[in-house]
């Protein structure tokens, strides 16, 4: 385990903090214990660095109880990114062969099927129909969750983009982007996927790559370059692509209050806050009702960085709280721009809150207008 002096200093400071960010830590919320907290994780690492105490099995578990949502960073005056520090330590834990066994199945599935859901690779996106067009060519990198668990997001994305005049294609050679692996420290396998995807994407004749999953977006725009894997065309999140075409988007009265959930990968990690909001406000013709915790202060949905795989009930507890926050501000519709967030939030939403992903609400607006015209 190695941390350079700068990181060791940051870990020391975090370990000395009287828990100024703990109140927003979703895993503190879920466990109500001082162990799965930013301070707790930092103290374990500090004790390891100064030789007080090695990480034991429970210590490793505590490090894997982090969602890496970086909400703590929003409240950290010294700007210590403990999520990134935790992720760095996870890499060594994986190398040491000490990863929680609950993650082994996920990694094995990705290795074998190129997706974490143990679904056949052949069925990844062969069901997605696309049309010919003279428009700008977008390669839609569907991501595993839209491809296997939230298929309507994938089909709606294609339809919306084609309506806007784009030529949309998907690739049967798309593999998992590697996000679940990078976030849980399995860099070796993550890079195998990354190398494959970079080769496939760079060989494509598309003008741009578009993604609906913020996890994919972060990996493609940040992790790949960090490992010197360069993509030769622009990568855009669907919210960016739609925002560029905002004047052409349809509008519909959704007859209800709409709020927006910021995905951690898209918001805090990639700084994209305004684009999805502009799209939603355009297609709904109304102003969003913001939750109390929003933008860089948004609560995580509970689904990230392996937490749902390892601790599903705690992940759901966090998702349920986020749903409650949406209901507290009177929202009828909760829009997110992340298939993974949508999957979690919809599972906790009940009957009085509709959860939609961004392409879905855009397509609903389009269909609504058509219905009115017809």
């Amino acid at each position: 385990m190695t941390f350079d002096d700068t990181l060791a200093e940051q870990i020391r400071m975090c370990a000395a903090c009287p828990k100024m960010c703990r109140h927003v830590c979703p895993t503190f919320f879920a466990w109500r214990s001082d162990s799965p907290t930013p301070h707790g994780r930092a103290l374990l690492l500090h004790q390891e660095i100064v030789g007080t105490r090695d990480l034991d099995e429970r210590g490793i578990e505590v490090l894997f109880q982090c969602l890496e949502c970086s909400h703590c960073l929003t409240f950290c005056k010294p700007e210590i990114d403990i999520a990134t520090i935790v992720e760095q330590r996870r890499k060594d834990i994986v190398t040491e062969g000490r990863r929680p066994t609950g993650l082994d199945d996920m990694a094995e599935s990705i290795k074998k099927h190129h997706n974490p859901y143990s679904e056949s690779h052949e069925s990844r996106n062969d069901w997605i129909g696309t049309k010919k067009s003279d428009g700008k060519h977008l390669l839609y990198f569907t991501g595993c969750t839209a491809a296997y668990r939230e298929k309507v997001i994938a089909t709606d994305t294609v339809e919306v983009l084609e309506t806007l005049g784009y030529l949309v294609s998907v690739s049967p050679d798309e593999w998992c982007c590697g996000s679940p692996l990078f976030r849980t420290g399995d860099v070796k396998l993550g890079l195998e996927l990354a190398s494959h995807n970079v080769e496939m994407l760079n060989a494509s004749e598309a003008d741009e790559i578009v993604v609906t999953c913020p996890g994919c977006y972060r990996v493609l725009t940040k992790d790949y370059p960090d490992y010197d894997l360069q993509l030769n065309k622009p990568i855009k999140h669907i919210s960016q692509t739609l925002e560029e075409q905002v004047s052409k988007l349809p509008m519909k009265d959704f007859e209800g209050s709409i709020t927006y959930h910021d995905s951690c990968h898209l918001g805090r990690h990639c700084g994209i806050y305004d684009e999805p909001r502009k799209v939603i406000e355009k297609v709904s013709g109304t102003s969003l009702v913001e939750m109390e915790r929003t933008r860089d202060n948004a609560m995580c949905c509970g689904n990230g960085a392996g937490l749902r795989t390892l601790f599903p009930e705690k992940a759901k507890k966090i998702g349920s709280e986020r749903v409650k926050q949406a209901k507290t501000v009177g929202a009828d519709i909760l829009v997110t721009s992340c298939p993974f967030c949508k999957n979690m939030l919809e599972s906790q939403s009940g009957e009085d809150l509709t959860v939609l992903d961004l392409p879905e609400i855009v397509l609903m607006a389009k269909r609504g207008r058509k219905a009115n015209i017809d």
Binding site: M13, P18, D34, L44, V50, D56
Partner: protein, 478 residues
């Protein structure tokens, strides 16, 4: 290593705890015990940084109700095992250290906020509610608790009450002992004490006040009913510099004397003023800075502010507008974060939050500063939490030594000498932080003959001495 709770007893204890709260809510794992071992006592933090271990509890138990706590205490009492209540873990005096092992009773699962009583302007809450969560909840309904300690994000209601906590607006809203109308406590024998929520009463001594500040040595605080205030129409700020402590203190004293109740009244000595404000505001070197805040409607604030400004001017103050006071309010949590400097090497600092009446405050300040500086420490102070009859001084010190041994020794000497001088000059050693473990050796000197009363109460309520032994100077074991 000496076993404080023998293996056989520990096994019995663990099995009992599991049967009461469920296996998921009991942990004996070392990592959990390490991460729960400390609070925010500066000596703890410095020792942890230096690689030292804190004493560990034998297990941590997370109860969900008063009923569970009653059962836990009955078992612990029967087995004569220490029980240390843990709130947010944000205390500054080592009050949650498991110095004799035993059970750390972590209250964080008990975080229910009952519906607000709008008619009476009260709210009933469980002890494990984190301060900021409660404040945000009552804010949603147009209220404030008026309780804003710097630890608001990390401390909880039970801890506030157990340590007689005070917030930065206590001049107007009061401390937690003023804000608590009703209280529920579970005694070591498992019985429940309910102190009814009433605004005032005339039914013997106020037993509720016996438990407020009891730091877990008499029982476990499980829930409280708290007062609420309407969120003020405006919070207005004003700042004045003064050539010396005396004139600044006189201004504060005269403001309170004529019945004005500012929400904020903080006087920074020259060193603290330079540290806190000179980066952003221009004022004469060596001057003090007074921050005032007024909560209320605009018309009332006009009156209070104008009268206060007149007094400040009469006492030789220079007006600096709202700037310094407003900036302090907006950045009031910043000083609580660690920095590279304060966590480097064997650096250590702390605050002695003494309190006294106006006739003694200035003497205490000068005498403590001299005594503490004699140990080559940087000492800076502000007078805050001011009231009609006196107020508190935050005597803040910082020192750094070449070795851990020297650093911890210096730290202790500064505390010993600082508190001794405070008591000699007629002050009381804590306004809001409590006693815990760090000040337990001074409590006999502080309370004098009253300490024996406290001891006798302890012996009656906790004859086996299981409740947070070693804290408040009670239940110290060999």
């Amino acid at each position: 290593m000496k076993l404080l709770v023998d293996p056989k007893t520990k096994k019995k204890l663990y099995d009992s705890m599991v049967s009461i709260v469920g296996k998921e809510h009991v942990t004996q794992l070392e990592t959990d015990r390490v991460l729960n071992a400390h609070d925010a006592w500066q000596l703890n933090a410095a020792k942890l940084r230096a690689g030292e271990m804190m004493p560990l509890a034998d297990m941590i138990v997370f109860p969900a109700s008063g009923e569970e706590i009653a059962k836990i205490l009955v078992v612990a009492n029967d087995l004569k095992v220490p029980v240390i209540p843990v709130g947010g873990g944000a205390g500054t005096c080592g009050g949650t250290l498991a110095i004799y092992g035993g059970i750390q009773l972590d209250m964080k699962r008990m975080s229910k906020i009952h519906p607000i009583d709008h008619e009476s302007m009260t709210v009933r809450v469980e002890a494990g509610v984190v301060g900021i969560d409660l404040e945000e909840e009552v804010n949603r309904h147009g209220y404030t608790l008026g309780h804003t300690p710097t630890s608001l994000r990390s401390s909880n209601m039970g801890g506030f009450i157990a340590t007689r906590s005070g917030g930065s607006l206590s001049s107007l809203y009061g401390k937690i002992e003023d804000l608590t109308l009703g209280l529920q406590v579970i005694l070591p024998n498992g019985s429940t004490v309910d102190c009814k929520a009433v605004p005032r009463h005339s039914v013997g001594p106020d037993l509720q006040q016996l438990f407020i500040g009891s730091e877990g040595v008499l029982g476990i605080i499980t829930e409280a009913t708290l007062r609420l205030f309407l969120i003020p129409e405006e919070r207005r700020f004003r700042s004045y510099s003064f050539p010396d402590i005396h004139s600044g203190l006189e201004a504060i004293r005269h403001i309170f004397r004529i019945g004005i109740e500012p929400s904020v009244a903080r006087l920074y000595d020259p060193e603290d003023a330079a540290m806190a404000f000179s980066m952003h505001f221009k004022f004469e070197e060596g001057h003090c800075m007074l921050l005032l805040g007024f909560d209320g409607d605009s018309a009332q604030n006009d009156i209070d502010e104008n009268k206060s400004m007149k007094i400040c001017t009469e006492q030789g103050g220079t007006d600096h507008g709202e700037g310094p006071a407003k900036r302090w309010w907006e950045h009031r949590y910043d000083m609580y974060y660690p920095s590279r400097l304060t966590t480097s090497g064997f650096a250590i600092g702390d605050t002695i939050d003494i309190v006294a009446t106006y006739d003694k405050l200035e003497n205490i300040y000068h005498a403590m500063k001299e005594a503490m500086e004699a140990h080559d420490a940087i000492v800076m102070s502000h007078f805050s939490h001011m009231y009609h009859n006196g107020g508190s001084i935050y005597m803040i010190f910082f020192s750094s030594r070449a070795t851990a041994e020297e650093a911890w020794e210096t730290y202790t000497k500064i505390w010993d000498d600082g508190v001794a001088v405070c008591l000699r000059e007629g002050g009381t050693m804590s306004h809001q932080h409590g006693v815990g473990f760090s000040r337990s050796t001074y409590i006999e000197d502080e309370l004098g003959s009253a300490f024996s009363v406290l001891k006798q109460i302890k012996e009656v309520l906790d004859p086996n001495g299981i409740m947070n032994p070693g804290k408040l100077g009670l239940g110290v074991r060999k």
